[in-house]
């Protein structure tokens, strides 16, 4: 005889759902508008998306206030978990989206922006990421993961070039494999513990003292593979350069920031308890992944001839750098992860937007690829302001003080030192030195080589509009003056991370 399940209606707590509902409503709104009157200009949809995302950001501020007063909130019958991690990562996801969507206001016409479905899918994707981070339940993580990924694949393909189709299909097939691994791993943990909630899993496994360690490790392997793919850790990174090259620069920039932070938060929830439990195998494997990702991605970036591919490998390397935070597992390292990612968002926003601004429709003869290094040769003479801004972003990515990313690297290396991982700290520092070379290479081309004959500087701003320039200006200001906002940011992040129990 089945027992009745008693679920109290208070645990429904629909307010926790509001940050995710807003982009969904926005997306449906956009689709409805298009249904009634098609052919409207893309600026309408850009502004509508921004408005909904700003409302989303506002509701997140409310949720943050609620967290500070009441602590962790659960919603939807305990499926949703709004803790400090969820709120912080949603701030980053929604904030980065607000900054990236105006990049659709381009001078040239692109295929994807003429379809309002693009913006609807964009908003659906954001809500998918929000679901992914705001939950403890492996099934809802999967739902969020798939929603966002499928939307992302379509967004990439909508760029309507052969390379974009190739990129989307590559990303899709590997993503489907990763999703399969994720469900298999979750299944193993469900079989072991009888629950799909991560905290429940942790409790049951600890109570049994990790008796079925073999099965636990199998589950861990599958989950590692799944998130290794999403986070582009070596050796699951092979999709990254091709997908970044095939997407538009704005989309590539977005991909380097938002999906990664969502995956980082889920990995933080999943792997923290496993690392703290002393499963030594996991610690060693993660250490190897981190070192491999940082170093190999840096080495591969050294030999690239295309700036966008170089930035793709560099994003892989940065993701590896940040994965170390999960490996170290202290409050300082988890705060360092969020600080680094916020500062990284500004810098990557800027560098990819600079590439987006110089997007040409047709390739001149001397260029091998869309954003090859020779395109930027001698930029200081033909477009000095643009060259200086690009150099600023390159120096920030290299970790030169006092620009934004230096502070993130400083805090991250400090957390490695404090956590007792001395050798890892040294490896992180030396990788920054190796990375310096390929960022410097672009600076050398821009400042010290002569421009190709016939270059009048306009090619660097062909795609520019006021909107694009303001986004770049915003990123540049954020990169230069990050140290001013550093203290309040650090306090905010550390409080939220600490109060979530990480």
């Amino acid at each position: 005889m089945l027992e009745p399940i008693n679920v109290s209606l208070e645990s429904l707590n629909l307010m926790t759902l509001s940050p995710m509902l807003i982009p969904i409503i926005g997306a449906l709104f956009i689709l409805v508008i298009d249904m009634f009157k098609s052919g409207l200009d893309k600026t309408l949809y850009v502004v509508l998306s921004m408005l909904f995302l700003i409302m989303d950001f506002g509701s997140l501020l409310g949720a943050a206030g609620g967290f500070t007063d009441n602590g962790t909130m659960m919603g939807m019958f305990d499926v949703m978990l709004i803790d400090g991690l969820a709120i912080l990562s949603q701030f980053i996801i929604v904030g980065a989206s607000i900054l990236f969507i105006p990049l659709a206001l381009t001078n040239k016409r692109f295929h994807e922006f003429s379809y309002p479905e693009f913006f609807a899918l964009f908003l659906f994707m954001i809500s998918g990421f929000q679901f992914m981070v705001a939950t403890d339940n492996l099934i809802l993580v999967f739902v969020g993961l798939e929603t966002s990924s499928l939307a992302l694949y379509t967004l990439i393909a909508m760029h309507n070039r052969d390379k974009s189709f190739e990129a989307a299909v590559k990303y899709f097939t590997m993503g489907a494999l990763a999703a399969g691994f994720f469900s298999f791993g979750s299944m193993v943990f469900y079989a072991l513990t009888g629950s799909v909630e991560i905290n429940q899993i942790a409790t049951v496994l600890a109570a049994n003292n990790y008796a079925d360690i073999g099965f636990v490790l199998i589950g861990v392997v599958f989950l590692l593979a799944s998130f290794g793919f999403k986070l582009s850790l070596v050796p699951f990174h092979t999709w990254a350069p091709d997908v970044y090259e095939g997407s538009s620069a704005a989309m590539a920039g977005y991909m380097s920031i938002v999906p990664k932070i969502a995956a980082f938060v889920v990995s933080m929830r999943l792997f923290e308890f496993l690392i703290h439990s002393g499963v030594a195998w996991l610690e060693i494997v993660l250490y190897i992944f981190v070192v491999l990702t940082m170093t190999m991605a840096n080495i591969w970036a050294l030999v690239q001839t295309d700036v966008k591919r170089m930035l793709a490998y560099s994003s892989v390397s940065h993701a590896g750098f940040v994965m170390a935070a999960i490996l170290i597992g202290t409050t300082q390292s988890n705060s360092a992860l969020f600080l680094y990612w916020i500062l990284f968002s500004f810098t990557n926003l800027g560098s990819f937007s600079m590439l987006w601004m110089s997007r040409q429709k047709h390739l001149p003869e001397h260029q091998g690829s869309d954003h090859s290094y020779d395109k930027f040769a001698g930029m200081i003479q033909t477009a000095p302001v643009a060259a200086s801004i690009m150099a600023l972003f390159m120096l920030s990515l290299a970790g030169l003080p006092p620009f934004a990313l230096f502070w993130g690297k400083l805090y991250m290396i400090s957390s490695a030192v404090t956590g007792g991982y001395t050798v890892l700290a040294l490896i992180m520092a030396l990788n920054s030195a190796i990375a310096g070379y390929y960022y410097l290479k672009l600076i050398v081309y821009m400042f010290m080589k002569d421009p190709v004959v016939g270059n009048d500087g306009n090619i660097y701003v062909t795609n520019a509009t006021l909107g694009l320039k303001s986004i770049i200006g915003f990123a540049a200001v954020g990169t230069i003056f990050a140290f001013v906002a550093l203290d309040p940011l650090l306090e905010f992040i550390t409080t939220f991370v600490y109060n979530s129990g990480y």
């Binding site: 030169l400 290396i413 600076i443 010290m448 650090l490």
Partner: protein
């Protein structure tokens, strides 16, 4: 306003550089010289207001930056850094004044002003992270100067310079983070302030590792053997003004950092590594002197002689007593003046003949007597002739090290004689004998613009060589404080015995 003189010294050139973008390129030279003169006047005001009897930090400023992590904007100046600051302002001024025809001179002057900001920042910073910010930031203008205005291999030289120094500095950064972590473990507070770190006494094995980490960063900058390979390229390919600033000021960052960081923070490790470092220093002196003798390019001769002199500076620093360290600081100033002058002189002849090969010259003394005189004076100063500024510094450095080891000092002294060999040989090749090449016969002598830079340097060389007291006095005071701090902090027998106790009457009270 005098309270914030250090912030003004740091940020005035940067502000002027930003505003300089608006200046029309025909007036940019006058603008640059004007800013250089104002900055130099400000640094002289600093010297005038500086109290020579106080041995601690003066004109301190403190603004919290990231209080939860212990990063604060702390500035201060004492006898050790005062004269290097003045030297930096002086050299930027005469460097800009002596700039000959350069393409894109506006970019050059703006870059030089930014570089001046970073130099001032390094020598006044009293917080580890602020120091590191200015230290690394100084690489960017130098990268641009060498890479954009340099010789044929300029890109290789500038990138090698940048990456080599960047890598070493990152190791130093990890060391700094460890230092802050130890401070946190000892006191429960995060702090990167150097004066707070001075109070921390670390166990010897930790000191050894941290000394090694900091050593990596500083040794590449000095540059010490075997990390010196970037310097000949950087000097060889850089334009004249780049070499002048590099030799006169940027190399001093490394040796200054040894005195500001390694010695007071790790006195036992400094004593432990004293002899290995001294051996490296002597190798520097001898080996680079021999290489300098074999060079055919006069600029490379001066570049290697630069490394040779830095060896004497390091030797004086690691003498770990007042004479040695004061001597090394004085030698830093002296070396800055003399090397800067020598590079300017090489620039003079390069502007005339667009070659730096010594076999292209010969008998120049007949054609350019004034040039030959000044070059001769600077050459003698570089060799360490008494009555010139270098002699005071070298003598004191060696006097200091003599108290630690007679044999090594003897070796170093002999090595200095080697310095005379290559310098005199180079001078002979260029200036004495008959005029062998027809092109040299009608070269114009030094003109007013070049003299404006060279005459003050010549005056300083002789004046401070004869009467070094105005400079040596404040240096001595601050160094005595540092040495006493080192003695009090040291925990090993070896350190206690080698570092002198300056308070009389308390021997045996440990």
């Amino acid at each position: 306003m005098i309270d914030h003189i250090l912030s003004i010294l740091i940020f005035f050139p940067a502000l002027a550089a930003v505003l300089g973008f608006m200046i029309h390129k025909d007036s940019i030279r006058a603008y640059g010289v004007a800013i250089g003169i104002i900055e130099f006047a400000l640094s002289l005001w600093l010297w005038f207001s500086f109290d020579s009897n106080v041995s601690g930090m003066q004109f301190m400023e403190h603004i919290p930056l990231v209080p939860s992590f212990g990063i604060n904007y702390i500035l201060g100046v004492d006898g050790i850094s005062l004269f290097i600051l003045i030297l930096a302002a002086f050299f930027t001024m005469i460097g800009i004044a002596s700039l000959t025809d350069t393409k894109n001179v506006k970019n050059m002057i703006i870059t030089l002003l930014f570089l001046q900001m970073t130099m001032m920042g390094v020598f006044s910073a009293l917080d580890g992270i602020v120091f590191y910010v200015f230290w690394e930031l100084s690489l960017v203008p130098m990268l641009y100067i060498i890479g954009a205005w340099g010789g044929p291999l300029r890109i290789y030289a500038s990138v090698k310079f940048f990456l080599y120094t960047f890598a070493g500095s990152l190791v130093m950064l990890v060391g700094m983070l460890f230092m802050a972590y130890f401070y946190y473990q000892a006191t429960g507070q995060w702090s990167f302030a150097i004066l707070d770190w001075y109070r921390l006494i670390l166990p010897e094995n930790i000191q050894l590792w941290l000394f090694a980490a900091f050593f990596m960063g500083f040794a590449i900058k000095v540059p010490m053997f075997p990390f010196h390979t970037w310097l000949p390229y950087a000097h060889g390919q850089a334009p004249t003004i780049g070499s002048v600033i590099l030799a006169a000021i940027l190399l001093k960052m490394g040796t200054y950092a040894f005195i500001r960081f390694s010695l007071p923070l790790f006195p036992d490790a400094s004593t432990y590594f004293m002899f290995p470092v001294a051996i490296l220093a002597i190798i520097m002196i001898v080996y680079t002197a021999m290489i300098a003798y074999a060079q055919k390019d006069i600029k490379q001769v001066v570049a290697y002689s630069s490394v040779s002199h830095m060896g004497v500076i390091i030797l004086g620093t690691f003498a770990l007593n007042v004479e040695g360290i004061s001597g090394s600081i004085f030698l830093m100033i002296a070396h800055g003046v003399v090397s800067g002058a020598l590079f300017l002189l090489v620039g003079v002849i390069y502007d005339r003949r667009h070659t730096k090969m010594m076999d292209q010259f010969g008998g120049l003394a007949h054609v350019m007597p004034r040039y030959a005189t000044i070059f001769g004076l600077m050459m003698m100063a570089s060799v360490g002739m008494p009555l010139t500024i270098n002699f005071v510094g070298e003598f004191l450095s060696l006097l200091g090290f003599y108290q630690q080891s007679h044999i090594l000092t003897l070796l170093a002294g002999i090595a200095i004689i080697v310095g005379a060999i290559y310098m005199l040989a180079a001078y002979k090749k260029m200036f004495f004998g008959e005029v062998t090449h027809e092109e040299n016969r009608n070269l114009p002598d030094v003109n007013k613009r070049e003299l404006v830079a060279l005459i003050p340097l010549a005056i300083i060389t002789v004046w401070l060589g004869v009467y070094p007291k105005p400079v040596l006095g404040p240096i001595n005071n601050s160094v005595e404080a540092i040495v006493q701090l080192m003695h009090d902090k040291s925990i090993t027998e070896d350190a206690k015995s080698r570092i002198p106790n300056l308070i009389k009457g308390t021997e045996g009270a440990h």
